[in-house]
């Protein structure tokens, strides 16, 4: 029997994280992608880009370590959370979501940024001159032109969260139905020499990720020729 609870927690985490990241990532990527003559923006942009890219180069343990400190009831964040919800952030599903948001941020923001940067300024200006309001621009021009980027961003954010290990280990621990995700469950099975179980979960993860990425790349290739 595969460990269904780990599969469910993992999918729930990946879905929550990638949905929230899309909400945060859209305005952030737009801000990063669009050219500007504003000096303050041009100075702060590389710093923000570096912060977004940081999880790509840092070991997850570093991120996990500082998150763990931030989650502790002694810290401002941990204390506020405890006051508001009555439970601790560390070793909770909410804590895992917060950790994953940081950890998967570049995988969502970077494809979005690339796709937004590819929309010519003139296209937006023309749509405005033709009477399109901001909402109409978003719905009729920006989203359709960024379709590939939106799907890539969501899928990569999702796929990357599926495979998260280091951060979860640091801040989530191994609580069944709460923080025990697939990667941790596999680690656990290996530790306890249950290779059969480890195989089952690993193969599920490989198959799922492979399918997701294949669909994503097929979609990408079909969209070439579009311009």
């Amino acid at each position: 029997m595969p460990d269904y609870s780990a599969i469910i927690v993992t999918l729930k985490l990946a879905l929550t994280t990638s949905l929230i990241l899309m909400l945060i990532g859209l305005p952030l990527a737009w801000w990063l992608a669009r050219p500007s003559l504003n000096k303050v923006k041009n100075k702060t942009r590389p710093i923000v880009e570096a912060i977004v890219a940081l999880p790509l180069v840092l070991p997850p343990t570093v991120l996990g370590f500082y998150l763990l400190i931030a989650f502790s009831p002694d810290s401002w964040l941990g204390a506020t959370w405890l006051k508001l919800t009555g439970s601790s952030l560390a070793f909770s599903f909410s804590g895992l979501v917060i950790g994953s948001l940081f950890y998967s941020l570049p995988f969502v923001v970077q494809p979005l940024q690339a796709t937004f940067a590819a929309i010519p300024q003139a296209t937006l200006e023309v749509s405005r001159s033709l009477g399109a309001t901001k909402i109409q621009q978003l719905k009729q021009i920006i989203f359709p032109l960024s379709k590939t980027g939106l799907i890539s961003a969501f899928s990569l954010g999702f796929a990357h969260t599926l495979g998260e290990f280091g951060v979860v280990l640091m801040i989530g621990g191994n609580i069944e139905n709460e923080t025990r995700v697939l990667s941790i469950a596999i680690y656990d099975h290996v530790e306890t020499l249950q290779f059969g179980q480890a195989h089952q979960l690993s193969i599920i993860l490989i198959a799922f990720s492979l399918a997701l990425l294949t669909i994503l790349y097929r979609f990408k290739h079909n969209r070439i020729g579009f311009n």
Binding site: S127, S129, L130, A132, Q140, L145
Partner: protein, 368 residues
């Protein structure tokens, strides 16, 4: 009236325009590339805010922008149909969706018969289901033109609207713009560095140089003033008004009369007794001291040389007149010296009828 008072800085380039423009005519912006035509267009559109040092624009007494009070009517509320130089069709939409993009967002619309009329006149009926990636440059420009025309409730702004359109479609497209402007009382601002396009379309011209307007006014007045810099440019176009006498169908040629001279111009039949402007490129006029009989050149006007000027190492500009009509010819320095031309000399100015471009004078355009 469209009142513009704007001062903008783009790096080293400064746009400095203070001008009132009529809003019942076609306004032509003329000047070489980089002289400020597109920059001015973008100000009228309400773009390039960060480059403004001062910018006041009002359209028929309604304020569009005013730098001090920050009272600004945003671009999407100005009712402008805009065709950018870069065309910029929306790549994910079909031709039909592109054309109707602005139309569908208009608050006030004329009868929708205009849609089919524009589609037919621009010859895009067969393209309607295609995507922009399946269009040629000229087709794309015609589609973008249709999109702009249908979006324009107050003003139509066209940046180099004919640059990619093939010669075969140009007369039809220019005719359409004239008709739209008259029928829907729609003011049009267009930019072009082609003299012949201005000769066809422009009622009121603004001539630019280096971010400033150096000459403006009714096109015919500016174009026919042979002492103005505009008339003396290398692409100078002469305009000779003539009356249509007859059409000779066996040769497909029109016989015209200007004062006591008969002139010939092909090849489409012009309405008998109508007045036309004959546009003749100054470079297409040749000079002879004696009448030439055995020649294929049909048009010959006996003129007087009233002034000349060496304008480059190889060219002379001649100012000629006959019966109070003034025109310009460019000839080589070699010809000038070998003919030994002198002031007030009688010369025969000749030009082929194929180099004459007749433009009908419309009675209601107020050009006569």
């Amino acid at each position: 009236m469209l009142n513009i008072n704007t001062l903008c800085q783009f790096g080293d380039f400064r746009l400095d325009v203070n001008q009132s423009l009529p809003t019942n005519q076609i306004i032509g912006l003329f000047g070489s590339s980089g002289c400020g035509k597109s920059r001015l267009i973008r100000q009228i559109l309400g773009l390039d805010k960060e480059h403004r040092l001062k910018s006041q624009i009002s359209f028929n007494k309604k304020t569009w922008q005013q730098s001090d009070s920050k009272l600004e009517l945003i671009t999407q509320h100005r009712g402008i149909g805009y065709l950018p130089q870069t065309i910029d069709l929306f790549p994910h939409l079909t031709v039909q969706e592109n054309i109707l993009f602005g139309w569908n967002k208009r608050a006030s619309k004329p009868d929708d018969s205009i849609i089919n009329y524009v589609i037919q006149q621009l010859d895009i009926d067969d393209l309607i289901t295609r995507h922009p990636s399946e269009l040629s440059g000229g087709q794309a420009q015609r589609v973008a033109l249709a999109r702009a025309i249908l979006a324009a409730s107050n003003l139509l702004i066209l940046d180099e609207p004919l640059s990619a359109i093939g010669e075969d479609h140009k007369p039809q497209v220019m005719q359409l713009l004239k008709q739209i402007s008259l029928k829907y009382k729609l003011p049009i601002i267009f930019s072009s560095h082609s003299r012949i396009e201005h000769a066809f379309l422009t009622d009121y011209i603004l001539t630019f140089n280096n971010g400033k307007i150096i000459q403006s006014g009714k096109y015919r007045l500016v174009a026919n003033d042979i002492n103005a810099p505009f008339a003396q440019r290398p692409d100078a176009l002469n305009c000779i008004q003539a009356k249509v006498i007859d059409f000779e169908p066996e040769f497909s040629i029109n016989k015209l009369k200007t004062n006591n001279n008969f002139l010939w111009a092909g090849h489409k039949k012009l309405a008998k007794n109508s007045l036309v402007n004959l546009e003749v490129n100054a470079q297409d006029i040749s000079i002879s001291l004696t009448p030439i009989k055995d020649t294929s050149i049909l048009n010959c006007i006996v003129s007087e040389l009233i002034a000349f000027e060496e304008i480059s190492s190889h060219q002379y500009l001649l100012k000629l007149s006959f019966e109070n009509v003034f025109f310009i010819a460019f000839i080589t320095k070699k010809s000038f010296l070998e003919l030994d031309l002198t002031l007030n000399q009688k010369v025969y100015a000749m030009f082929k009828s194929v180099s004459v471009q007749p433009i009908a004078i419309e009675s209601d355009s107020g050009l006569t």
